[in-house]
């Protein structure tokens, strides 16, 4: 089969996904926009009335915003890590999942930092971070790391998009004019010649290693925001690697869930197959074992050494936060291990279920790192106002959290309207290698 013909065929196969919007996805988009609208209202309230509308107070100065921030940044980091690994080691089955991973990476690094902005009391002075930067502050490190990571991930994502943009440019004769023009601009004059292809492969390969390194730096710096303080629950030497493992844990899980949803709603059973789920499931199993080990070490050493303030923290965790603790650190680790360990349990549905449990467990794990520590400071809280003693998030914080998730899904859907979720160029490359199609003769 001729390579050009195959390209046309694939574009034809994927174009309904790109151009037609089904009723279900229309309802979804409407719903997501509604969620975002509510979030927008909450944002206006927070802007006009100040942070008094949140559940944060003088002791618990950071709430679910920073938890979502950690969660999304870790998603991005692990996405970058996995994308890098998939590309660098030329994993055979990577093609079907690599784009899901890459989009996850870029979207979460855009949405994550928005949550940290919600934490900031004076957004009108945000530019002071660049006007009066203090390099000693871990926040400054974080800004540098995240901005670098954002640019790096964006470049990487774009590099992987170029071949597909070029295929779409050449093969969408019946597409609307704006779409053709967009593809022609975005494909950057890529013609898929052998030398161009080799150069692009080389750059993508270099970028894939770079984003792995950047991701490790970004996430370590994020962990240091907590572990460089003297607070009892945070001042831990293993926080940076612990956060990296935790990031991978939630990242792989989110990718599994995304794979499941995309497979189901876009009928891509042919491309995203059980082998992908089993592969990702085994990775998740390894990471869940590591994550459980790190969690155990962290709490075990605190419990065994029995320092006063550590014990106060553990008592809070085992009394006030008992169920959250059990869910985050027992169910959230042991259930995925239990499902993924046995071969007969490794079905698409059960692997996805394990991933959902892992995501929820990890979110609560972050919550238990941030909130109870702030509720048990060195100097005992002696306040009669309940909101100053214990943190409870308000609807504004939840509305804005769900807005983040909604924006993530919405942007994901919009990107899937722009490029096929299964890289066409990747399919071509694979088939070229296996000699199923004849190369185009370039004179």
């Amino acid at each position: 089969m001729d390579i050009e013909q195959r390209k046309r065929e694939l574009v034809k196969e994927f174009s309904p996904m790109l151009r037609k919007t089904t009723t279900i996805s229309k309802i979804w988009i409407g719903f997501l926009i509604a969620v975002i609208a509510v979030g927008f209202y909450a944002l206006i309230l927070q802007f006009t009335k100040g942070h008094i509308v949140t559940g944060m107070r003088d002791n618990v100065v950071w709430g679910i915003y920073i938890i979502n921030f950690i969660f999304f940044v870790c998603l991005s980091y692990s996405g970058a890590f996995i994308a890098g690994i998939l590309h660098f080691f030329k994993t055979p089955w990577k093609n079907s999942v690599s784009r899901i991973v890459e989009i996850t990476t870029v979207l979460s690094i855009i949405i994550g930092p928005i949550f940290i902005l919600l934490c900031i009391g004076r957004l009108d002075r945000l530019h002071y971070l660049f006007l009066y930067p203090r390099i000693q502050s871990p926040i400054t490190w974080d800004i540098i790391a995240i901005l670098t990571d954002l640019i790096g991930c964006f470049l990487y994502l774009y590099l992987t998009f170029i071949p597909d943009f070029s295929i779409l440019r050449d093969n969408s004769d019946d597409a609307p004019k704006w779409r053709k023009k967009l593809y022609s601009i975005l494909s950057f004059g890529y013609q898929d010649t052998t030398s161009q292809r080799e150069r692009l492969n080389k750059i993508t390969r270099i970028m894939s290693t770079m984003i792995i390194a950047m991701a490790i730096v970004t996430y370590s710096v994020l962990a240091w925001i907590f572990s460089l303080t003297v607070q009892p629950g945070w001042n831990s030497t293993i926080f940076a690697p612990y956060f990296i493992i935790a990031g991978l844990y939630s990242g792989v899980s989110v990718i599994i869930v995304a794979m499941y949803l995309i497979r189901k709603y876009y009928h891509l059973n042919h491309y995203i197959r059980k082998v992908h789920f089993v592969g990702a499931g085994i990775i998740l199993l390894v990471i869940s074992l590591l994550f459980g080990y790190f969690t155990f070490t962290e709490y075990f050493s605190r419990w065994f050494s029995h320092k006063t303030h550590d014990i106060e923290l553990l008592e809070t965790l085992f009394n006030r936060y008992f169920w959250e603790f059990i869910f985050a650190n027992y169910i959230g680790v042991l259930v995925p291990i239990g499902i993924l360990f046995f071969k007969k349990f490794r079905t698409i549905k059960s692997i996805t279920f394990a991933a959902v449990i892992a995501i929820l467990g990890l979110w609560f794990n972050r919550y238990l790192i941030v909130v109870p520590t702030l509720e048990t400071p060195y100097i005992p809280i002696q306040d009669t106002r309940p909101e100053f003693i214990h943190y409870s998030s308000t609807w504004i914080e939840w509305a804005l959290s769900f807005t983040g998730i909604a924006a993530f899904i919405l942007f994901f859907m919009l990107i899937m309207k722009l490029v096929p979720i299964i890289p066409i160029s990747g399919i071509i490359d694979q088939e070229r290698k296996s000699k199923k199609i004849k190369p185009k003769i370039i004179l």
């Binding site: 009335k49 100040g50 942070h51 008094i52 944060m56 107070r57 003088d58 002791n59 100065v61 950071w62 934490c119 900031i120 009391g121 004076r122 002075r125 945000l126 002071y128 971070l129 006007l131 009066y132 930067p133 203090r134 000693q136 502050s137 871990p138 926040i139 400054t140 800004i143 925001i225 460089l228 303080t229 003297v230 607070q231 702030l374 400071p377 060195y378 100097i379 005992p380 809280i381 002696q382 009669t384 106002r385």
Partner: protein, 302 residues
Amino acid sequence: MENKNSKTDSRRQFIKKISTGSIIAASGLALSSLSSCKETSQEKTTLLTTDGKLVQVPNSEIGELEHQHITPEESRQGIPGKKWVMVVDLGKCKNAKKCIEACDKHHNLTPDRPYIKVLEMKDNEKSSPYWMPKKCFQCDNPPCVKVCPVGATYKRTDGIVLIDNERCIGCRFCMAACPYSARVFNWGSSPDQEVTTAYSPETSIPSKIGTVGKCDFCPDMLRKNKLPHCVPSCPNGVIYFGDEIDDTVTNGEETVRLSTLLRDKAGYRYMEELGTKPRVYYLPPVDRLFPFEKSTEENSES
């Protein structure tokens, strides 16, 4: 002997300061800016600056200087030649909360957002409870200053840690980093609507929404050679305040040598092991003036 010396010392200093009048409030910075303006005024007064120099200042300028406004930029410099230090005698505190009232009044704070807290402490099961007034410890190795991304909180040469509320972006990293929970946040709109004076980090008023505040050792008072508001307001003389370089501290009634006080009464700093090097010392709750009493009415009020 030493005590006597210290008393005469401080008296002499006091007289010296009186002679320079309120001009000291202008501080070195203000004076240097003054000397640069070459106006030839008729009458001049010779004055001693805080760094020990004699300067001639036109009489017409003196009145204005009393109300010298310390800008955020100027507030980054400490008062020259000073190292402020505080000593809190836990044996004298009975939770009268007068220090909190005075502080709230002068910093225009609402009772739900005080800079000073009087905590009920009990070190272990056997030891007896005591009251512990807690302000900002003005650490020499301040965890809050380390983490500020914009330099809105800073350590001055005179030992005070201040916050510039016009610089603060409200990220609250300093609050999360402070092991002593010394900082408060302006969560809602500020109660200072009626305050018309220009903002200065040295007075901390008017407070600004979305920024961090804390006990500041009242540098505006120190520039006027007065004690921070909490010190004279205490009916029991719990709080001593002074200069580490002079080695003297006073609670408004008696003036004592800092080193002698710390030695004789076994002064300590709260959680020394954290390495923050606080500038607030505590004297252990021995030889109590009052028995420990919990007034339930007061507790329910706060």
